[in-house]
């Protein structure tokens, strides 16, 4: 077994086991001891066993550390949370505005009771009337009571988000400053807003919403009907910024830099920088971080003239995400993202070997290869989709065969549109009819596939 894959599996197993453990100190002690043994012992078997124990215990420690809220956390308020009259803190993510209401995550720094106040930390989910200037980094004093979260699973059961606050009027929200938040994140949000405006100005509403999802990762912009239909046909992944988008960005940057005729290492650095910027721009969701880290690892392998191994790159990206936030292991999006990639990496060559040699001409060959890739991804994700959603989508193989190439074309066109209209806004007319037609065809094709008999099966519990 690949060493990186083995390490990743062990670390993930440690994280899974960590959910059933409470004692941090003994596990941490075992991890330190086994690390010491692995470093000092010369016996190959003992050293290997100690390494295994170290990685496994590191996984357990990582999840235990994340789950520990710490002293003064807002979750410790317990029954007294109902007596809170106001909270002071700042907005930690982009404010989502819809139908006159705004929702955001709010990092609490102080809670105010009727007769006292107390410093604390942790996050709450706030729903309030939309205020035009409200944005990430705003410091606010919000009046209202704290209520338990209705759907904790919506936040991936994060232990640091404990309560929600529903504010009926903007009268109860007082800005106290605008100095919080990272400069990079602020810049990424501004840039995303700018690009969103460019798309909305250039395209019709439905096309703009789909392109926002495909290019900028704004899946909330897509109509719930389209989103659900695509979910049932197994093609919803194209509405999420993922490896395909990163591949398209990578390709465009490489082509542009080759036109500029930059030398090899500066080209690598600039490409890496743009990939990281794109990752930040799209909100750094799991699939983008995965694809970005994988691309960087593969690029670096090329640069230092090592043999690029896609499995190792995938495992490094998985370890990277799990090191940053071990709770992601239990996130459905994370599981599906890696299941599909690993299935393509592992199953596709095997399926291809099973099939007779592909000696036909390129359109037929491309079609059969696409079918095999689609089949591999479906086989990899079907058990997880059934487990989480009680759904099987036999039409997914067919849907992806047609929709993915169309989505690839739309992504290229979308990026070109954004680039071109940023420089010359009047040029939107060159691309917009093609993009709008592409989006319309994609939605209608998906609708037709969705209406096929047995296109999806929902098993009721």
């Amino acid at each position: 077994m690949n060493a990186a894959l083995f390490t990743t599996v062990l670390f993930a197993a440690g994280i899974a086991a960590g959910t059933a453990v409470r004692a941090f100190a003994p596990i941490f002690g075992i991890a330190c001891l086994s690390l010491l043994v692995a470093m000092l012992c010369r016996g190959k078997i003992i050293s290997s066993c100690a390494s295994v124990a170290t990685v496994f215990c590191a996984g357990v420690c990582a999840i235990l550390c994340q789950q520990c809220a710490g002293a003064g956390h807002i979750a410790d308020l317990g029954p007294s949370a109902g007596r809170v009259t106001a909270v002071r803190g700042w907005v930690v993510e982009e404010v989502k505005k819809e139908e006159g209401r705004a929702t955001f995550l709010f990092k609490v720094e102080e809670v105010i009771f009727p007769a006292s106040r107390r410093s604390c930390h942790g996050m709450i989910f706030v729903r309030c009337p939309a205020i035009p200037e409200q944005r990430y980094g705003d410091e606010l004093l919000i009046e209202g009571g704290l209520l338990p979260l209705r759907f904790p699973e919506r936040f991936g059961n994060r232990s640091d988000i404990s309560y929600r606050m529903s504010v009926p009027s903007s009268y109860f929200i007082r800005p106290t400053g605008q100095n919080k938040g990272g400069i990079c994140k602020k810049a990424a949000i501004r840039c995303r807003e700018y690009l969103r405006c460019r798309l909305r100005q250039s395209l019709k509403p439905v096309a703009a919403s789909v392109m926002e999802a495909m290019v900028l990762g704004e899946k909330d912009a897509v109509s719930p009907v389209t989103y659900q239909q695509m979910m049932r046909t197994g093609s919803v992944h194209i509405l999420v910024v993922s490896g395909t988008n990163v591949a398209v960005v990578f390709f465009i940057i490489c082509q542009l830099l080759k036109i500029l005729r930059l030398p090899r290492w500066p080209r690598f650095c600039v490409t890496a920088l743009f990939l990281v910027l794109y990752c930040a721009l799209t909100g750094a969701s799991n699939p983008v971080v995965r694809a970005t880290v994988m691309s960087l690892v593969l690029m670096l392998a090329f640069q230092v003239r090592r043999e690029p191994d896609i499995r190792t790159a995938c495992c490094i990206s998985l370890l990277f995400i799990l090191f940053l936030d071990p709770r992601q292991l239990f996130d459905i999006g994370f599981q599906l993202s890696y299941a599909s990639v690993l299935a393509i990496i592992i199953l596709y060559p095997r399926l291809r070997a099973l099939c007779p040699p592909l000696t036909m001409r390129w359109p037929a060959r491309a079609l059969s290869q696409g079918l095999l890739v689609s089949c591999s991804a479906w086989l990899g994700t079907a058990p997880l989709i059934f487990y989480h959603f009680r759904m099987i989508s036999p039409v997914a193989v067919l849907a992806n065969l047609f929709i993915v190439p169309l989505a690839g074309f739309l992504m290229f066109s979308g990026f070109s549109l954004m680039l071109l209209t940023s420089v010359a806004p009047f040029s939107a007319g060159i691309f917009s009819p093609a993009i709008e037609a592409g989006v319309a065809v994609m939605i209608r094709l998906n609708d037709a596939l969705y209406r096929l008999p047995w296109s999806y099966i929902i098993v009721r519990q």
């Binding site: 019709k204 509403p205 439905v206 096309a207 109509s223 719930p224 009907v225 389209t226 659900q228 239909q229 082509q255 542009l256 080759k258 036109i259 290229f412 066109s413 070109s416 007319g429 060159i430 691309f431 917009s432 009819p433 093609a434 709008e436 037609a437 989006v439 319309a440 065809v441 939605i443 209608r444 969705y450 209406r451 929902i458």
Partner: protein, 112 residues
């Protein structure tokens, strides 16, 4: 004649292809009804036809749960179809506010 690199040619060809597709789509949609039906962004694009959708599909519409979906299907079968969104007001559990919400995600197609 064209002192461009391979990448420059690719970039220019892509822009040319895209603008050609745009022109072709615009022309074809003006002259062919079939193509217009496929590529045009009419008000029903991405919406559900209340006269064709089954129970499972109706539950996709925000605000419609399994119970209301069943009632809509029963109403449709009993009355030979839905003639307008206002017909839904006769169904138990559907308020005028919900009809307005449904209007954003569904439409009433021809009765089959």
């Amino acid at each position: 004649m064209f002192p461009f690199t391979k990448q420059e040619k690719h970039a220019m060809l892509f822009v040319a292809a895209l603008s050609l597709i745009s022109t072709g789509v615009t022309f074809a949609s003006k002259n062919s009804r079939v193509i217009r039906q496929v590529v045009e962004h009419n008000e029903n694009l991405g919406k559900i036809d209340l006269n064709k959708a089954d129970e499972g599909t109706l539950t996709i519409v925000p605000g419609i749960g399994p119970a209301i979906a069943r009632r809509i299907v029963n109403y449709r079968e009993a009355n030979g179809g839905i003639r307008g969104l206002e017909d839904l007001s006769g169904i138990k559990g559907i308020s005028s506010a919900l009809i307005e919400k449904i209007r954003r995600y569904a439409y009433v197609g021809p009765v089959s």
